[in-house]
Protein backbone atom coordinates (compact mmCIF):
# COMPACT_ATOMS: atom_id res chain seq x y z
CA UNK A 1 0.00 0.00 0.00
CA UNK A 2 1.35 3.35 -1.00
CA UNK A 3 1.43 6.26 1.34
CA UNK A 4 -1.42 7.95 -0.49
CA UNK A 5 -3.57 4.85 -0.23
CA UNK A 6 -2.90 4.59 3.55
CA UNK A 7 -4.01 8.19 4.08
CA UNK A 8 -7.18 7.56 2.07
CA UNK A 9 -8.09 4.46 4.19
CA UNK A 10 -7.56 6.43 7.37
CA UNK A 11 -9.88 9.18 6.15
CA UNK A 12 -12.55 6.67 5.18
CA UNK A 13 -12.41 4.86 8.52
CA UNK A 14 -12.69 8.14 10.45
CA UNK A 15 -15.70 9.11 8.40
CA UNK A 16 -17.38 5.78 8.98
CA UNK A 17 -16.63 5.89 12.72
CA UNK A 18 -18.02 9.45 12.94
CA UNK A 19 -21.09 8.38 11.05
CA UNK A 20 -21.66 5.38 13.33
CA UNK A 21 -21.22 7.51 16.45
CA UNK A 22 -23.42 10.27 15.03
CA UNK A 23 -26.21 7.77 14.37
CA UNK A 24 -25.82 6.39 17.89
CA UNK A 25 -25.99 9.86 19.45
CA UNK A 26 -29.00 10.78 17.33
CA UNK A 27 -30.71 7.60 18.43
CA UNK A 28 -29.78 8.26 22.06
CA UNK A 29 -31.16 11.80 21.81
CA UNK A 30 -34.39 10.43 20.34
CA UNK A 31 -34.67 7.89 23.18
CA UNK A 32 -34.19 10.66 25.78
CA UNK A 33 -36.66 12.98 24.05
CA UNK A 34 -39.22 10.17 23.91
CA UNK A 35 -38.65 9.39 27.62
CA UNK A 36 -39.02 13.05 28.58
CA UNK A 37 -42.20 13.33 26.53
CA UNK A 38 -43.59 10.20 28.17
CA UNK A 39 -42.58 11.48 31.64
CA UNK A 40 -44.36 14.76 30.98
CA UNK A 41 -47.51 12.88 29.93
CA UNK A 42 -47.36 10.76 33.11
CA UNK A 43 -47.06 13.88 35.32
CA UNK A 44 -49.86 15.69 33.47
CA UNK A 45 -52.13 12.66 33.76
CA UNK A 46 -51.33 12.47 37.49
CA UNK A 47 -52.13 16.17 37.93
CA UNK A 48 -55.45 15.72 36.13
CA UNK A 49 -56.26 12.73 38.33
CA UNK A 50 -55.24 14.71 41.44
CA UNK A 51 -57.54 17.59 40.42
CA UNK A 52 -60.38 15.12 39.89
CA UNK A 53 -59.71 13.55 43.30
CA UNK A 54 -59.70 16.97 44.98
CA UNK A 55 -62.86 18.07 43.12
CA UNK A 56 -64.61 14.86 44.08
CA UNK A 57 -63.50 15.15 47.74
CA UNK A 58 -64.58 18.80 47.84
CA UNK A 59 -68.00 17.91 46.36
CA UNK A 60 -68.45 15.09 48.85
CA UNK A 61 -67.43 17.30 51.77
CA UNK A 62 -69.87 20.01 50.62
CA UNK A 63 -72.64 17.48 50.14
CA UNK A 64 -72.03 16.02 53.60
CA UNK A 65 -71.99 19.49 55.13
CA UNK A 66 -75.23 20.43 53.34
CA UNK A 67 -76.81 17.19 54.60
CA UNK A 68 -75.60 17.94 58.14
CA UNK A 69 -77.05 21.45 57.88
CA UNK A 70 -80.35 20.04 56.63
CA UNK A 71 -80.38 17.49 59.47
CA UNK A 72 -79.72 20.16 62.10
CA UNK A 73 -82.34 22.49 60.58
CA UNK A 74 -84.88 19.67 60.43
CA UNK A 75 -84.17 18.65 64.05
CA UNK A 76 -84.59 22.28 65.14
CA UNK A 77 -87.91 22.52 63.28
CA UNK A 78 -89.10 19.31 64.93
CA UNK A 79 -88.05 20.69 68.34
CA UNK A 80 -89.82 23.99 67.56
CA UNK A 81 -93.01 22.17 66.54
CA UNK A 82 -92.77 20.07 69.68
CA UNK A 83 -92.50 23.21 71.84
CA UNK A 84 -95.62 24.70 70.20
CA UNK A 85 -97.60 21.45 70.32
CA UNK A 86 -96.67 20.80 73.96
CA UNK A 87 -97.67 24.35 74.89
CA UNK A 88 -101.02 24.04 73.08
CA UNK A 89 -101.62 20.64 74.67
CA UNK A 90 -100.85 21.98 78.17
CA UNK A 91 -103.10 25.01 77.64
CA UNK A 92 -105.92 22.86 76.28
CA UNK A 93 -105.58 20.51 79.25
CA UNK A 94 -105.63 23.52 81.59
CA UNK A 95 -108.70 24.89 79.81
CA UNK A 96 -110.70 21.68 80.19
CA UNK A 97 -109.50 21.38 83.80
CA UNK A 98 -111.04 24.84 84.38
CA UNK A 99 -114.28 23.77 82.68
CA UNK A 100 -114.35 20.61 84.81
CA UNK A 101 -113.75 22.72 87.94
CA UNK A 102 -116.57 25.10 86.96
CA UNK A 103 -118.98 22.19 86.37
CA UNK A 104 -118.03 20.79 89.79
CA UNK A 105 -118.72 24.23 91.35
CA UNK A 106 -122.14 24.35 89.63
CA UNK A 107 -122.94 20.89 91.00
CA UNK A 108 -121.96 22.17 94.46
CA UNK A 109 -124.37 25.09 94.04
CA UNK A 110 -121.48 27.54 94.20
CA UNK A 111 -122.18 29.29 90.88
CA UNK A 112 -125.02 31.86 91.18
CA UNK A 113 -125.47 31.85 87.39
CA UNK A 114 -126.70 28.28 87.45
CA UNK A 115 -129.49 26.54 89.39
CA UNK A 116 -128.35 22.94 89.78
CA UNK A 117 -131.79 21.68 90.82
CA UNK A 118 -133.26 23.06 87.58
CA UNK A 119 -130.52 21.34 85.61
CA UNK A 120 -131.24 18.02 87.32
CA UNK A 121 -134.97 18.40 86.64
CA UNK A 122 -134.38 19.19 82.97
CA UNK A 123 -131.93 16.27 82.52
CA UNK A 124 -134.26 13.87 84.34
CA UNK A 125 -137.33 14.82 82.28
CA UNK A 126 -135.25 14.59 79.11
CA UNK A 127 -134.10 11.09 80.17
CA UNK A 128 -137.61 9.94 80.97
CA UNK A 129 -138.77 11.31 77.62
CA UNK A 130 -136.08 9.51 75.67
CA UNK A 131 -136.69 6.22 77.51
CA UNK A 132 -140.45 6.70 76.93
CA UNK A 133 -141.21 5.47 80.44
CA UNK A 134 -143.88 6.72 82.86
CA UNK A 135 -141.89 5.33 85.80
CA UNK A 136 -138.17 5.94 86.10
CA UNK A 137 -135.38 5.80 88.67
CA UNK A 138 -132.83 8.58 89.11
CA UNK A 139 -129.22 7.83 89.99
CA UNK A 140 -126.85 10.59 91.01
CA UNK A 141 -124.23 11.56 93.55
CA UNK A 142 -124.85 10.56 97.15
CA UNK A 143 -124.76 14.25 98.13
CA UNK A 144 -127.48 15.00 95.51
CA UNK A 145 -130.00 12.63 97.10
CA UNK A 146 -132.10 15.37 98.74
CA UNK A 147 -132.05 17.43 95.53
CA UNK A 148 -133.10 14.37 93.54
CA UNK A 149 -135.98 13.82 95.98
CA UNK A 150 -137.17 17.35 95.16
CA UNK A 151 -136.76 16.62 91.45
CA UNK A 152 -138.82 13.43 91.86
CA UNK A 153 -141.66 15.43 93.39
CA UNK A 154 -141.53 18.01 90.61
CA UNK A 155 -141.49 15.28 87.97
CA UNK A 156 -144.65 13.86 89.53
CA UNK A 157 -146.34 17.16 88.83
CA UNK A 158 -145.23 16.75 85.20
CA UNK A 159 -146.90 13.32 85.07
CA UNK A 160 -143.76 11.20 85.42
CA UNK A 161 -143.52 8.72 88.27
CA UNK A 162 -139.93 8.89 89.49
CA UNK A 163 -137.89 7.47 92.35
CA UNK A 164 -134.41 8.04 93.63
CA UNK A 165 -132.30 4.92 93.16
CA UNK A 166 -130.59 3.59 96.28
CA UNK A 167 -127.30 3.38 94.41
CA UNK A 168 -125.13 6.45 93.97
CA UNK A 169 -122.81 7.00 91.01
CA UNK A 170 -119.34 8.63 91.14
CA UNK A 171 -119.83 11.61 88.82
CA UNK A 172 -119.17 15.37 88.85
CA UNK A 173 -122.86 16.10 88.54
CA UNK A 174 -125.99 15.35 86.53
CA UNK A 175 -128.15 12.27 86.55
CA UNK A 176 -128.52 8.76 85.17
CA UNK A 177 -132.15 7.89 84.40
CA UNK A 178 -133.13 4.21 84.23
CA UNK A 179 -136.28 2.25 83.66
CA UNK A 180 -137.90 0.22 86.45
CA UNK A 181 -136.26 -3.05 85.38
CA UNK A 182 -132.84 -1.39 84.87
CA UNK A 183 -132.78 -2.68 81.32
CA UNK A 184 -132.19 0.73 79.79
CA UNK A 185 -130.33 3.73 81.09
CA UNK A 186 -130.04 7.29 79.89
CA UNK A 187 -126.79 8.98 80.95
CA UNK A 188 -127.18 12.72 81.37
CA UNK A 189 -124.16 13.40 83.54
CA UNK A 190 -121.81 16.39 83.45
CA UNK A 191 -118.96 13.94 82.87
CA UNK A 192 -120.59 12.39 79.81
CA UNK A 193 -121.71 15.72 78.40
CA UNK A 194 -118.22 17.19 78.82
CA UNK A 195 -116.62 14.10 77.21
CA UNK A 196 -119.02 14.21 74.24
CA UNK A 197 -118.56 17.97 73.90
CA UNK A 198 -114.79 17.63 73.89
CA UNK A 199 -114.83 14.87 71.29
CA UNK A 200 -117.02 16.98 69.00
CA UNK A 201 -115.64 20.45 69.62
CA UNK A 202 -111.99 20.15 70.61
CA UNK A 203 -110.70 21.45 67.24
CA UNK A 204 -113.11 24.37 67.48
CA UNK A 205 -111.88 25.15 71.01
CA UNK A 206 -108.25 25.02 69.83
CA UNK A 207 -109.08 27.54 67.11
CA UNK A 208 -110.91 29.79 69.56
CA UNK A 209 -108.07 29.66 72.08
CA UNK A 210 -105.18 30.18 69.68
CA UNK A 211 -106.69 31.95 66.67
CA UNK A 212 -104.43 34.70 65.27
CA UNK A 213 -101.29 33.69 67.20
Amino acid sequence: MSGEEAVSVNRDSEAIVRAILKMAEDRASAIRREAEKRAKEIIEAARREAEEILRSRRERAEREMREEIARKRSAAEVEANQIILTTKSELLKEFFRMVHERLAAIAEGQDPKWNYEEILLRYSLEGAGVLGEKEVYLMGREKDRSLLEKVVRRMGKEGVRAHVDDRAVPIIGGVVVRDAGDERRYYNTFDGRLRAYREAKEIDIIERLFEGV
Binding site: V9, S13, I16, V17, I20, M23, A24, E25, R27, A28, S29, I31, R32, A35, A39, K40, I42, I43, A46, E49, A50, I53, L54, A61, E62, E68, I69, K72, R73, A76, E77, E79, A80, I83, I84, T86, L91, F95, M98, V99, R102, Y123, V130, G174, R184, Y187, N188, T189, F190, G192, R193, L194, Y197, A200, K201, I205, R208, L209, F210, V213
Partner: protein, 103 residues
Protein backbone atom coordinates in the same frame (compact mmCIF):
# COMPACT_ATOMS: atom_id res chain seq x y z
CA UNK B 1 -8.18 -3.04 5.76
CA UNK B 2 -8.08 -4.90 9.07
CA UNK B 3 -7.54 -1.54 10.74
CA UNK B 4 -10.69 -0.18 9.10
CA UNK B 5 -12.75 -3.18 10.26
CA UNK B 6 -11.27 -2.86 13.73
CA UNK B 7 -12.14 0.87 13.84
CA UNK B 8 -15.72 0.18 12.71
CA UNK B 9 -16.13 -2.56 15.33
CA UNK B 10 -14.86 -0.21 18.03
CA UNK B 11 -17.21 2.48 16.81
CA UNK B 12 -20.17 0.07 16.88
CA UNK B 13 -19.30 -0.96 20.44
CA UNK B 14 -19.20 2.70 21.44
CA UNK B 15 -22.49 3.31 19.62
CA UNK B 16 -24.10 0.40 21.50
CA UNK B 17 -22.81 1.81 24.82
CA UNK B 18 -24.20 5.29 23.97
CA UNK B 19 -27.64 3.85 23.16
CA UNK B 20 -27.61 1.61 26.26
CA UNK B 21 -26.79 4.65 28.41
CA UNK B 22 -29.62 6.60 26.79
CA UNK B 23 -32.02 3.72 27.39
CA UNK B 24 -30.96 3.54 31.06
CA UNK B 25 -31.47 7.26 31.41
CA UNK B 26 -34.86 7.03 29.71
CA UNK B 27 -35.89 4.29 32.10
CA UNK B 28 -34.77 6.42 35.05
CA UNK B 29 -36.67 9.47 33.71
CA UNK B 30 -39.89 7.46 33.38
CA UNK B 31 -39.48 5.81 36.78
CA UNK B 32 -38.96 9.21 38.38
CA UNK B 33 -42.04 10.53 36.62
CA UNK B 34 -44.07 7.57 37.84
CA UNK B 35 -42.86 8.18 41.41
CA UNK B 36 -43.74 11.85 41.10
CA UNK B 37 -47.18 10.91 39.73
CA UNK B 38 -47.78 8.64 42.73
CA UNK B 39 -46.71 11.42 45.09
CA UNK B 40 -49.05 13.92 43.38
CA UNK B 41 -52.01 11.53 43.66
CA UNK B 42 -51.26 10.61 47.29
CA UNK B 43 -51.01 14.29 48.18
CA UNK B 44 -54.39 14.95 46.53
CA UNK B 45 -55.88 12.18 48.67
CA UNK B 46 -54.44 13.61 51.88
CA UNK B 47 -54.68 17.37 51.35
CA UNK B 48 -57.41 18.86 53.59
CA UNK B 49 -60.28 20.15 51.43
CA UNK B 50 -61.88 23.50 52.15
CA UNK B 51 -65.67 23.61 51.99
CA UNK B 52 -67.28 26.79 50.78
CA UNK B 53 -70.68 26.24 52.49
CA UNK B 54 -70.85 29.33 54.66
CA UNK B 55 -74.20 28.90 56.45
CA UNK B 56 -74.11 29.42 60.20
CA UNK B 57 -76.56 26.66 60.95
CA UNK B 58 -75.99 26.67 64.72
CA UNK B 59 -77.15 30.28 64.90
CA UNK B 60 -80.12 29.47 62.66
CA UNK B 61 -81.04 26.48 64.86
CA UNK B 62 -80.91 28.69 67.96
CA UNK B 63 -83.17 31.22 66.23
CA UNK B 64 -85.72 28.55 65.18
CA UNK B 65 -85.97 27.26 68.76
CA UNK B 66 -86.03 30.77 70.25
CA UNK B 67 -88.82 31.80 67.84
CA UNK B 68 -90.81 28.73 68.91
CA UNK B 69 -90.30 29.58 72.60
CA UNK B 70 -91.41 33.16 71.95
CA UNK B 71 -94.47 31.89 70.09
CA UNK B 72 -95.23 29.50 72.94
CA UNK B 73 -95.12 32.44 75.37
CA UNK B 74 -97.44 34.42 73.09
CA UNK B 75 -99.81 31.42 72.97
CA UNK B 76 -99.85 31.24 76.77
CA UNK B 77 -100.56 34.96 77.05
CA UNK B 78 -103.35 35.03 74.46
CA UNK B 79 -104.92 31.75 75.63
CA UNK B 80 -104.89 32.89 79.27
CA UNK B 81 -106.74 36.07 78.29
CA UNK B 82 -109.34 34.12 76.31
CA UNK B 83 -109.82 31.27 78.77
CA UNK B 84 -111.95 33.13 81.32
CA UNK B 85 -114.75 34.03 78.89
CA UNK B 86 -114.36 30.84 76.88
CA UNK B 87 -114.88 28.74 80.02
CA UNK B 88 -118.24 30.49 80.56
CA UNK B 89 -119.24 29.85 76.95
CA UNK B 90 -118.14 26.21 76.97
CA UNK B 91 -119.80 25.47 80.33
CA UNK B 92 -123.03 26.85 78.89
CA UNK B 93 -122.63 24.78 75.72
CA UNK B 94 -121.84 21.63 77.74
CA UNK B 95 -124.84 22.05 80.05
CA UNK B 96 -127.37 23.23 77.48
CA UNK B 97 -126.15 21.80 74.20
CA UNK B 98 -126.88 18.50 72.53
CA UNK B 99 -123.93 16.69 74.08
CA UNK B 100 -125.41 14.51 76.80
CA UNK B 101 -127.85 11.73 77.00
CA UNK B 102 -126.42 8.52 75.71
CA UNK B 103 -128.57 5.50 76.37
Amino acid sequence: MPRLVEAIMEAEKEAARIIQEAEKEAKRIIEEAEEEAKRIIEEAKKTPVEVSVMEDVDEEVREIVERAKAKAEELRKVASERMSYLVDEVVREVLEGEWGGSS
